[in-house]
């Protein structure tokens, strides 16, 4: 089923911040949630005033790897806490034991839905994204600046010692020119030479050439003769 005619059903009005970066205005993007445990895809319908989710039966999108970020994510009931960097930048320190390694990529949905972000720490989802990432960036079309049209074709159910897992399978359907909207979300690594700027003076610090002398021998003050 093409994405343009994907059946969408409003299922809930969320009272907590499922959407990402809420409140920051310019940085706000609605999200797509891929359920790595039971399968299924949902899209946040946050429009700035009302939060909700709808099921996406057939996820087809422009998946722009130029927006890919990696790092540490903790999903909480107040929303995700993300410490992400562009590929190529050093990973930040792990903020807490609850933060897991995760990835985030911005995708472009058809039908006027525009940019959404997919963020996940689920091993199966991250692994699937990594596979389609590898396939994408190895393609000549990627080198030409095009963006893959990707479909989530199915979920493969697995049983692990930690429980059930639903691993999405992505497929590249086609390649398209990058919409201008995606350009705004590119994640470029910091310049390689980026290091903390010196806050000291404009010349190298002296090391020291003053010779140290040992303390004088401790001598007791003479004790008065009390007779």
């Amino acid at each position: 089923m093409p994405a343009q005619s994907a059946q969408r059903r409003k299922i809930d009005i969320m009272t907590t911040g499922f959407g990402l970066s809420i409140g920051s205005g310019k940085d706000f993007l609605p999200s797509i949630r891929i359920n790595g445990k039971d399968g299924g895809v949902e899209r946040s319908t946050w429009d700035g005033s009302e939060r909700g989710l709808e099921v996406v039966d057939d996820l087809v999108c422009l998946m722009d790897w130029a927006t890919l970020q990696v790092g540490w994510v903790e999903f909480t009931d107040r929303g995700p806490d993300k410490r992400l960097v562009a590929i190529g930048d050093p990973l930040p320190d792990r903020p807490s034991e609850k933060h897991k390694q995760g990835v985030q990529v911005v995708v472009y949905l058809p039908g006027g839905l525009g940019c959404h972000e997919i963020c996940s720490t689920a091993i199966g989802v991250v692994g699937a994204l990594e596979r389609i990432y590898d396939a994408s960036i190895a393609a000549p079309e990627w080198q030409q600046g095009k963006v893959p049209v990707v479909r989530l074709t199915e979920f493969q159910k697995e049983k692990t010692k930690h429980g059930n897992r639903a691993v999405p399978v992505f497929e590249i359907l086609d390649w398209k020119d990058r919409p201008a909207e995606l350009d705004e979300h590119k994640a470029a690594p910091k310049p390689r030479a980026a290091i903390p700027a010196s806050t000291s003076t404009s010349r190298p610090a002296a090391t020291g050439s003053t010779q140290m002398t040992p303390p004088a021998s401790v001598t007791r003050a003479p004790v008065p003769d009390f007779g």
Partner: protein, 247 residues
């Protein structure tokens, strides 16, 4: 995974950062690719003299302290083919004596070989080091260095080393004790925080470099080495450099 751990590095040291700054190619060859060449007799001389001086400061007689230095040197250089071995051995006694003369008046250290671990802002792994001697009464941390020529000022690499100890959360001041077989001098460290800041920037440059690739061979392909460098004086090191960099 952070760039250091991606290369099997769970900590860094000031000496590693100094090596990275002085000879990045040698750093990659030795630390990332594992082609390490045994250190020369000069390095063992430093270790031996340090052991002897510390023994003397802790109460051993001068002869016992020199014996300690000789024993450490003999043990460390038993399999060494370094032609400078005999020259270095001959210098031990004088260096130990000069070291004890220089530091003896400061009294018995409260601690020796103290492990220091601290973190730099934005660097994913801790920095580890060991101080040579600490004096609580004088608020002083001293690093002992041996040389055949007495420096007139603290060398920058040594300043960074002591600064990292002083800057690691203590209110101690730092000094570098230089001894030759005939002379000695104890210099007071200046601008410790500036040297720590320099170390931090060096660590960031190393971290950025390591982040380029998890493949050390790819990193090696980005740089090369100065084949006249004293780091490559040993024929085995020279061969390693040729094998890695092709020069």
């Amino acid at each position: 995974m952070n760039p250091f751990k991606a290369h099997g590095l769970d900590h860094i040291s000031v000496s590693q950062l100094n090596l990275w700054a002085a000879a990045p190619g040698i750093y990659v060859m030795e630390r990332l690719l594992g082609h390490r060449t045994p250190v020369g007799a000069a390095a063992h001389r430093g270790t031996a003299v340090e052991a002897g001086v510390i023994a003397g400061l802790m109460g051993s007689s001068l002869n016992e302290a020199i014996d300690t230095a000789n024993a450490v040197f003999t043990e460390r250089t038993a399999l060494s083919s370094d032609p400078r071995r005999d020259k270095e051995r001959d210098a031990l006694a004088g260096m130990v004596e000069r070291g004890i003369e220089l530091l003896g008046p400061w009294g018995k250290p409260d601690r020796t070989q103290v492990r220091k671990e601290w973190r730099m802002d934005g660097i994913a792994v801790p920095v580890l080091g060991f101080t040579d001697a600490e004096y609580d009464a004088h608020g002083l941390i001293i690093d002992l260095k041996t040389s055949h020529a007495l420096p007139s000022t603290i060398r920058t690499s040594h300043a960074r080393q002591v600064a990292s100890y002083v800057g690691a959360g203590s209110n101690m001041s730092g000094g570098v004790a230089y001894v030759t077989s005939k002379k000695s001098a104890l210099y007071q460290l200046e601008n410790a925080s500036a040297h720590v800041a320099a170390l931090t920037r060096m660590a960031h440059s190393l971290q950025n470099f390591l982040a380029i690739s998890t493949d050390p061979h790819e990193l090696a392909s980005l740089i090369t080495v100065d084949t006249d460098s004293f780091y490559l004086a040993d024929p085995r090191a020279r061969q390693n450099a040729f094998d890695v960099f092709g020069v």
